[in-house]
Amino acid sequence: MSTLWRGLGAAVYLTLRALFTVARAVAGVDRALREGVGGAVTALARAFAATIAHMHRGSAQDMTLLDLAGLALLLVGRLFGS
């Protein structure tokens, strides 16, 4: 009987050790994925926002000239296209 309990104890111990080994490996991959993918997504979002903000940085005169150029392109395209 005591052999059975000792055997059971050893089996539980070995199972737990195996589980913890797998768990540590999974946690390592999880950390790498979170830092890698999460970091990449965050960096991409920040870069996108910074680019859009940069588009708004010029003086209002420059923006107005850009608007004029865009409008001219729009009208020329529309007239030739229609």
């Binding site: 589980l19 913890f20 797998v22 768990a23 999974v26 946690a27 999880d30 979170r34 999460g38």
Partner: protein
Amino acid sequence: MTPTAPPAFPALPTLPAPWPALGTPPPAAGDFDPAGPLALLILLPLVGALVLALAPRPVVRLATRAAVLWTLPGALFLLAAAWFGGAAHGAFAVRWLERLPGGGGLVLSIWNLVPALLVGLAAPLALAVPEAREKTPSRAAFLLVLTAANLAVILAVGPGVAVAGWLGGAWALCFLLGEADAVNAGQEASAPFVLHAFAGACVLAAALAPPFLPLLLVAGVIRLGVPPTHGVQARTFALLPTGALLLVVVGFAVTGLAAARDGVAALRASGVGGPGWGVGAAWLGPLAVASALAAAWVGFVALAEGDLKRRLAGFASAQGALWVTLLLACDPTLARPAVGAWALVTLVTLVLLVLAYAPLWAFARTGDLKAYGGLGRVALVRSTLLLVGLAALVFAPVLSARGAGAAALVDVLARRIPAGGPVVLGGALGLLAVGLSVYRTIRGETAMPLPAPDLSAAEWCVVVLFGATLFLLSALGPPLGGLGSLWPVFAAAGGS
């Protein structure tokens, strides 16, 4: 003449839900009363938060200590409503409808009584529980805001109040994390806020366009911390003070699970002449497999954690993924009672576990498991409470709704679908993580040098009151709602 047999379940009440009700027509405008006790349930904590924000310096400490008083009327009202429904007139007698100035409405009915009661009872506990750092007025204020936000989601009639509640919860979480992360300039608050704001945006999309109701599943998954959002959940649990942790565990789980349930129902209804994308129902199988694998994944991650609160977060994420898998993989007549009842037992037990651990966290000021041990030598009652809690978590699938949870798991395994093995593994690993933590806390030669490790008088009062409340509320009697489940079990008969 043979008397006709009574119907197995009474006719379903026509009561509103936050979403275009699948099969439940909304009540007529004349059924709504002017704003009253339900509005006060949400307004009182908000007024309390405002008082804390504006209180002058001489009285701010007193106001902070008294913050719990703003949640007591709501808790008492909800208890009275539950008693009224259970003892006096039957479950369908609980039917309050109130319209709010400026639009929107609130409802308290058998559909949402139990979730509201859970949050309403957890709120005073969250404000009274011992903390590692001194309680500040801003923390107390945002705990009140979090309470109001969670109750708004649960009690909402129309989508407007529900969306406001989701986003209010995200804001409250942001401030609580920012205050907790002051040394780091609140940088840890931004990722959880963005994630929960995204969940709120999904709820907004679902609220505005019925074909997007399946997005509620995404929102629910985020609130439950199902992977890939488990990392943020773990960081959140590790940072939050104990009271906020309690409210987040209960409130976010309850609202997230309801959203997941509704999202799955919408997905199931699509492609059969119902709202949603034409091939939505075909996603159920693959999503069930994905959430089962997620449960297994986060179970392993939780096991590898060395921080107690992060292990709890991992367990909560694994349970959330397990419940979502059952909702996706099983028939609604089996899944809803199983998940609702299992979640109810789990959440009540988690409240007890957090209360039991609160003084230890307040003393140790760290979640590192190495700081805990030897409790069994110096605090027998507290250790017993931890063991009872652990046993309740382990046997929750069997304890609840006459074993409906276990029946659902057996159903998933018996059908030999790919989701079966991983979901059971994930649930088991989550339980193992919590179990080993409790074991470590109780065992050990060197006990934590707590001045008064066992239950204090206040804690005894809480435990006794809690136990008495649970005993009294059990008189509501499943299967007609009450303590049988987070949601009325008879919803299973309606299939929606």
